[in-house]
Amino acid sequence: MKTVLEGSHAVSEAVRMARIQVMSAYPITPQTHIVEALSEYVAEGRMDARFICVESEHSAMAAVIGAASGGVRTFTATSSHGLALMHELLHWSSAARLPIVMAEVNRALGPGWNIWMDQTDSLAQRDTGWIQLYVEDAQEALDTTLQGFHLAESINLPVMVVLDAFFLSHTYEPVDLPEQADVDRFLPALKPRIRLDTRTPFAMSQMAPPGVYMEMRRDIQSAMERAPDHFARTEVAFEKVFGRRYGAVEAVACEDAEVILVMTGTAASTCRQVVEDLRSEGEKIGMLKLKMFRPFPVNAIRKLLGDARKVAVVDRNFSFGASGIFAQEIRAALCNHPNHPPVFGYIAGLGGRDITPDTLKEIYRMTRDTDHPQAESVWVGLTTEKESR
């Protein structure tokens, strides 16, 4: 059934229909609407689940780690400082191989205090062993949340579904709301591989001395290496029931493109319009939408970008002392590909600043008219020093 939903509530609906059994969360803008709706569903008896109220995000993740260790389907959601506070337990949950799903609404870190869109919060968690999937609209947020459980449970790694603050979380748009029976068909009850049970007690997450630790790390990486295939299988199963699929990456008009923009999140949606507009004017622009960030889909990227003319990565994030984070990863993926294209890095839209069609057209033109990158990153749309005083 098609209905107009807020992006946050598209996630809440997916979590409700996934029949999760335990969730725990601490409110933080712009994530709050997701768990607000879920707490209402639990209070009204629309969900047969426990909502564990806690005093911090650190405890929220600890609570779902405990529940997931007991073999039940779990969920949490957070943003920005809340995610940063979870950091220790993000490592814990992936190393314990728990299939937790989290919705993470991208928000800037302070100070200066800022509640708006910025990807640095989630990208700063790139080494924690979580699968990260970025979405561009409310339908994809709903679908990817459902897929997240399927994927997490197939390889025992936690999945982070990442969505833009406000441009997605607080935006209402038409969403095809699945039927519960279809969701049940796609996502049957969890059959846990690991399950603490008082009737057959054992200890988990024990001391791992040098003789075993490295193999455990390697096992996590093996699971990560299998994740793209597992995700493809998840998508096949999803498409069979719902008729939609997204891909870990998606190439739009890339075949003959002179410049390919690499995009994530809602800016990828805006870029689709820009590709349509500029193509109608005869400009050879393409877009590569990156949905999966961890594991980084290196093979797909080499295939799609390895022989491109020019690549322009638009980063709504920044790693101080280096460059945009997606640009770093794209460069690393391409550097061993013979004759790889120059990779231009652009920083745009930090802290909720808008990325408009004109922003992307400017990025396209700058790339088209420059032979080689003049800097690791070009910051787009800064006010001049004089204006900002």
């Binding site: 107009v4 509640i115 603050a165 441009f167 209402y172 038409p174 805006t270 909720g352 808008d354 408009t356």
Partner: protein
């Protein structure tokens, strides 16, 4: 694609007006996208919301800078906010007011007024000092644009507003009749 910008004050149901209108347009077969200007809103502070509608999927997800139409829920905002900023010449400016605006007179635009405060008060919506006006404003908007159908507006109101549904529908219907267009 058409873009509409709403101006109001925190507590006036500005975002809700935009959502109800979006749902009514959706019922009438449009693709819609609506979102508030994201701030840390306080009661009484100026707020804005945007609505995009099209016959096909709306891809652009940035803010609205050059709206086709503007809705102003509080006439006093004209003193402090440039409500016509970016408004396309010939676009509608709908104002909740008993009188047409004199300064600025918005001569480049089509101007309509509706006394939504009076309609809200007459129907006992909200309090005497703070009547509910958003459902009346939506009704007036549907009249000047000749869409979405009043029936879709009524259904959307019932879907979104849990209290005084009959009165709120009535407010939209009365405003639909009462809205005045400059030059008519």
């Amino acid at each position: 694609m058409q873009e509409i910008r709403f101006h109001g004050r925190g507590g006036q149901g500005t975002v809700m007006a935009s959502i109800i209108l979006a749902k009514a347009f959706f019922k009438a077969g449009y693709y819609v996208q609506t979102f508030p200007v994201f701030g840390v809103e306080r009661r009484g502070a100026p707020v804005e919301a945007y609505l995009r509608l099209d016959r096909k999927k709306v891809l652009v997800r940035s803010n609205v800078y050059t709206p086709d139409h503007v809705v102003v829920q509080d006439a006093k905002l004209l003193q402090t906010v440039d409500v016509a900023r970016g408004l396309k010449p010939g676009g509608w400016l709908l104002l909740n007011s008993a009188e047409f605006p004199r300064s600025p007179d918005f001569s480049e635009f089509q101007v309509a007024v509706v006394d939504a405060n009076r309609i809200g008060l007459d129907l006992g919506l909200g309090s005497r000092t703070q009547p509910i006006i958003n459902t009346a404003v939506i009704g007036a908007f549907a009249r000047i644009l000749d869409m979405p159908p009043l029936k879709a507006i009524g259904e959307a109101i019932e879907g979104e507003i849990p209290v005084k549904q009959k009165e709120n529908r009535e407010a939209a219907e009365r405003a639909y009749q009462a809205v005045r267009i400059r030059g008519d």
